[in-house]
Subunit: 353 residues, 2 copies
Amino acid sequence: MELKNDTLLKALLRQPVDRTPVWIMRQAGRYLPEYLKTRAEAGSFMNLCQSPELACEVTLQPLRRYDLDAAIIFSDILTIPDAMGLKLFFVTGEGPKFEHPIRSADDIRNLPRPQIDESLGYVMDAVALTRRELGGKVPLIGFSGSPWTLATYMIEGGSSKTFSKAKKLIYQDPQMAHMLLEKLAGTVTDYLNAQIESGAQAVQIFDTWGGALSSQAYKEFSLHYMAQIVSGLKRESEGRKVPVILFSKGCNTQLEALADTGCDALGVDWTITLDEARRRVGDRVALQGNLDPSILLAGKNVIRREVGYTLESFGQGDGHVFNLGHGITPDVDPEHLSALIGAVRELSPGYHS
Amino acid sequence: MELKNDTLLKALLRQPVDRTPVWIMRQAGRYLPEYLKTRAEAGSFMNLCQSPELACEVTLQPLRRYDLDAAIIFSDILTIPDAMGLKLFFVTGEGPKFEHPIRSADDIRNLPRPQIDESLGYVMDAVALTRRELGGKVPLIGFSGSPWTLATYMIEGGSSKTFSKAKKLIYQDPQMAHMLLEKLAGTVTDYLNAQIESGAQAVQIFDTWGGALSSQAYKEFSLHYMAQIVSGLKRESEGRKVPVILFSKGCNTQLEALADTGCDALGVDWTITLDEARRRVGDRVALQGNLDPSILLAGKNVIRREVGYTLESFGQGDGHVFNLGHGITPDVDPEHLSALIGAVRELSPGYHS
């Protein structure tokens, strides 16, 4: 099936495009009434993730409403620890939890490297099904959490504000921390390669909690493993390059180092201007971002103005993918996202020759 | 009363010192059993803040245990909104709340500029009493929240993860946001000047949530008002300069702009090395920080090593105040803080000539 809209893939590789492509982190999410309906039908969030048909359905929902340039497979970053035996569950209002969090060095030693086809086959089925259903309309993005980000949940047993258990491990017993991160890096590599083999046309690594680490610890415990994954990924599939995007939230002091990992593009949050980010990474990578998701709570005229500022901040030339600087929040009016996408479509051609 | 140890004041003004002074954000806090005892006796957190004798007592507690180079007056950043009529209260496990959060433009228009001597006299009494009790041992630091940080609590009604209400205001109705921030900036200026007149020998502005803003919004809605406060502060008292420290957490992309406000020193979190921060601000300001508080959860040998790295990262020369990159957490063993302070005392003279 020929890909009809390859603007995203070209922009991620800094190839010429005639407008700035746009997709939205968490675009299949709780702000959409149709998503809430499907989720309710699924019974639980885990059922939604583990049913290829339902995961495919919610992946496609935002594309029926909006003129988006990509789909991103609906899943959760914590499928990997779940497949490693930690048993993920969700408590409403409390976020994700594990029944068997990592509590000792033995827990790390005994952690299996999962057979992706067996324990995470449902993700590959969802990817393959979604590719078929997309019919070449737009490319499909696969994703994974970064080893460090996955490790924080596995050690803390769920979300955390201070990551004190995970940080205690890296400082007190760096060798065990590295054993855990090494296992995770291998699994993430397998997982993303399997997604690529199943049909993902670009992949993104979400390092949501990289920003909790000190500059030095970040390099040793997060960046290092993302670089290792990048170098282990299948970078071509179906005769096309498969771009790799790294998104390390709150790590703007690390942009140069991230650009040196060999990835194709960097996700950027809103605490740095694209102008400055571009100056710092030069022509090594494309940039993806970076509107503050809260701007979608303001009126449509404000959204349009802020989209304009973001495009202007990146400036003339290729290598920009429009996105938010983090996931869209559940309190957004779906009409407001229309306004954002419309503004990108309307205003961005002026920045490309 | 002559000040016997002026190492902190000198370091903040980048004057020569023979070792790096150290104090710890939230040094009077829940990790200390004697603090928990006094807090229990006070009945509530608000009673502890509002009783000058008890506030003085907990301010002095860490100085009895540790060889610190400063005391910081025990109080809460939300005393100002409380004095403006929002009525602060604390729910255990949920953080601060307001009985009357800001819900409308009229709430902002009607917000009074409090008479500091009346509604915040208890803070000034605590400052004056603590100065007397200190007997010149070390200097006393006064503090306030930044206008933006105070505004987030006032609009959200308490803590927040996304600050969506506060951000909606700045994007949807910037004029009202500026009216609120203008009122807060005036009040913070009065409040800090009153602390200086009551005996505070240095002051720090905590911009805990500046890092939630985009780069542009940060300049307009947070930095601008901190600069306004800095220019309105009494910078000399009792024949000595009163150094002003700005601490904007998560705002490392803004260090240059922060250094241009006219403040004397910048607090730095652990997501940037002091080496890089120093290169960026040059000799305009001193730097304070920046150990990850989680390092205090590791063993004493790790703490000592990380203190060494931090001192080495700043390098040779004056203008460094040792501190954490955020407040000390309740789960820290008090003996571990001893190890930190001991290591700074022992290792830092080598960096000064």
